[in-house]
Subunit: 437 residues, 2 copies
Amino acid sequence: MSNKTQPRILPGFMELLPEDQIQFNRMYDTIRRVYERYGFLPLDTPTIELSEVLLAKAGGETEKQIYRFEKGDSDLSLRFDLTVPLARYVAQHFPDLAFPFKRYQMSKVFRGERPQKGRFREFYQCDIDVIGSESLDLVYDAEMPAIIYEVFRELDFGAFTIRMNNRKVLNGFFAELGYSDKIGDILRTIDKLEKVGSDAVKAELAEFGVSEEDSLKILSFIAIKGDNDEVLAALEAQEIANEQYREGVSELKSVIGYLRRFGVAEEAFRIDLTIARGLDYYTGTVYETMLNDYPSMGSVCSGGRYDNLTEYYTDQKLPGIGISIGLTRLFYQLRENGIVKSGSSSIARCIVIPMGEDDMNSAIAAAAVLRGEGIPADVYYQQKGMKQKMKYAARLGVPYAAIIGESERESGSVMLKNMETGEQESVPVSGLAAKVR
Amino acid sequence: MSNKTQPRILPGFMELLPEDQIQFNRMYDTIRRVYERYGFLPLDTPTIELSEVLLAKAGGETEKQIYRFEKGDSDLSLRFDLTVPLARYVAQHFPDLAFPFKRYQMSKVFRGERPQKGRFREFYQCDIDVIGSESLDLVYDAEMPAIIYEVFRELDFGAFTIRMNNRKVLNGFFAELGYSDKIGDILRTIDKLEKVGSDAVKAELAEFGVSEEDSLKILSFIAIKGDNDEVLAALEAQEIANEQYREGVSELKSVIGYLRRFGVAEEAFRIDLTIARGLDYYTGTVYETMLNDYPSMGSVCSGGRYDNLTEYYTDQKLPGIGISIGLTRLFYQLRENGIVKSGSSSIARCIVIPMGEDDMNSAIAAAAVLRGEGIPADVYYQQKGMKQKMKYAARLGVPYAAIIGESERESGSVMLKNMETGEQESVPVSGLAAKVR
């Protein structure tokens, strides 16, 4: 082995065994199917972009994580999210797009952060966004959680809650207290409430010059609890004249109303005033999604509304709303929590196994029958002993093995073995598809 | 616009409008579906690998094209094909894989070559490979073109021909002439025959020390034509004792025999002795695929057999066979040739259009009915005039628009407009799915 290179990948990169990749792909395909069912259009922007374009807005932490390099005379970067490329795309192709522009993109993004458990340097984001030209109706704010609802019902990982808030409610409330100029700081601070607790939040708010009295007001405001109608009533009852606050409450009420019309079960969404989404660009509705039985996983699908996506590229006013599922991290967490189990999946529904060389033609024909019915089928072509052939079938985790020997070949049948129960039965090739589907 | 960044991408990168992306994705999905139907397992290796690992073998032209950069202390590269990552993967995960290991990977690869028409720096490769441990039966050499056959029939771009050869036939023939030590040079030279003509090939062969007499022998050998059985008979009739030659002819004969059993139409495959596939690592069967009406497009799917994929990483002997479709380039060429037409596709089958705000609930409900039947549907939520709403539907290219006004709302129906013919009819919501499917 002396001059062999040790085969390995970098830390912080996910690479799966085939049986796990199949499960990952099923999740990917489910998300894509729901996105398409709502009429979202596919995009596939380049992985590599000009740094000047991609980093028109970025700064601070984000910029440090970028994979950035030179090739020829060009200063290049790998995309670090799908939102900036969307902004660039919409600004660039504006005349060729119909608005509202609804697109999905489900691609890898890259962030060279310090690798740690559950953090990846290369990971899939599954995004949908709707971009309006000049304006975008509030119904879209309800369509987003309706889609989240459908995605997570189809993914079938148990009960979940879509927590919603509206940044105008928070902004207006903070402005009313006299902190218009510190809204960003306050938002980022209360965003950490669940993680660090109220004492730490109070201490940090004090650093920003928020009085202890106001800190308590803020904490008691965002602690307003109850069912959606109760929270709405409490918000409306607040003696706050601030116009932005009033607008935010009214928006929240409308969105909740639409959500009900979308048929989303009441227990699946909840107004939660602690949801702030620290990212600066959100301006209205914001979302987080929790799996009820796994709160430690944090939000598995987040997003919100922004007023102007493309301001770094164009003077057009393009408000939008979007959500994102970090699929790589989600898959990792589902496996860590035993919700997705390793090694129990296969592509082929059936593997056809010829006993001897003379049975090869029959095996090829039997597999063709299955494939003709759209059923993935494999054939074992290697000339090995039956023991080894069956071992291969077991390793693949394929549900059925169709064995063909002399008598099967002559009668146009297979010996169909259920690999899980071990049961065997003789099945005519013409009836094979119905049995293994 | 003074301090706006001009939104743009790099030359040599493909970015599509949504209606084209839909067509691209249909091709992608078709290829994937066929690969899975044959039981190939999905892989998704990292985009970024350690240079030391990825470039264990590379050199010359390839290495110059690599996107290579440092991040932290690591020397990194973007993958330039899917074959080297497969070799690394198989060597790394050997104990966890079942052999023969059949995998597909359909991902972007990166080559920083000089951009030119139809050449891309970032492009999709759609690969399947079968890797055996120690040995791999010849039937797999026939399964590959059987899969190519099914892929290109389903892609439905007209007649195509899979051209096949066997490197042992060529190697044995050149060895018989006494050029065992120049086989690589000769192969790369005759590979250019179609492009540069026989005079240029003769001149280049002379440079490598091939006598004029032998040049003529080589050219007349690879010019052997006829149907598959005629070519096989001509090859068998050659007075060549060389063992490798005999083995190659025998393999070619077996593969052709198996191909017929796979049900591949005789006109779709042809032994063509000019097919050399200059890449050094092929050792047996080689393939190229031509669209009959568009020979100038060159090969749209190529591949072959190699004896030892992983020699740079492990002492295990792992022979394999694989094919690759360069999807980005293929899509580009199909569009250039007018085979794929721009702008005639949409995700949604139907867009539901509420005439006024009061019709919104009915519109949401009608869309839910369609989606419940798995039919992608869109709803226009913006409060605009009907003219603008219909214009949006037309821009999207969606086949049907379901318009809901007061009378439709009250009768539980929609006014269904066929956007292509302009015909309209009143359809009850319960019958909508059947109409637009």
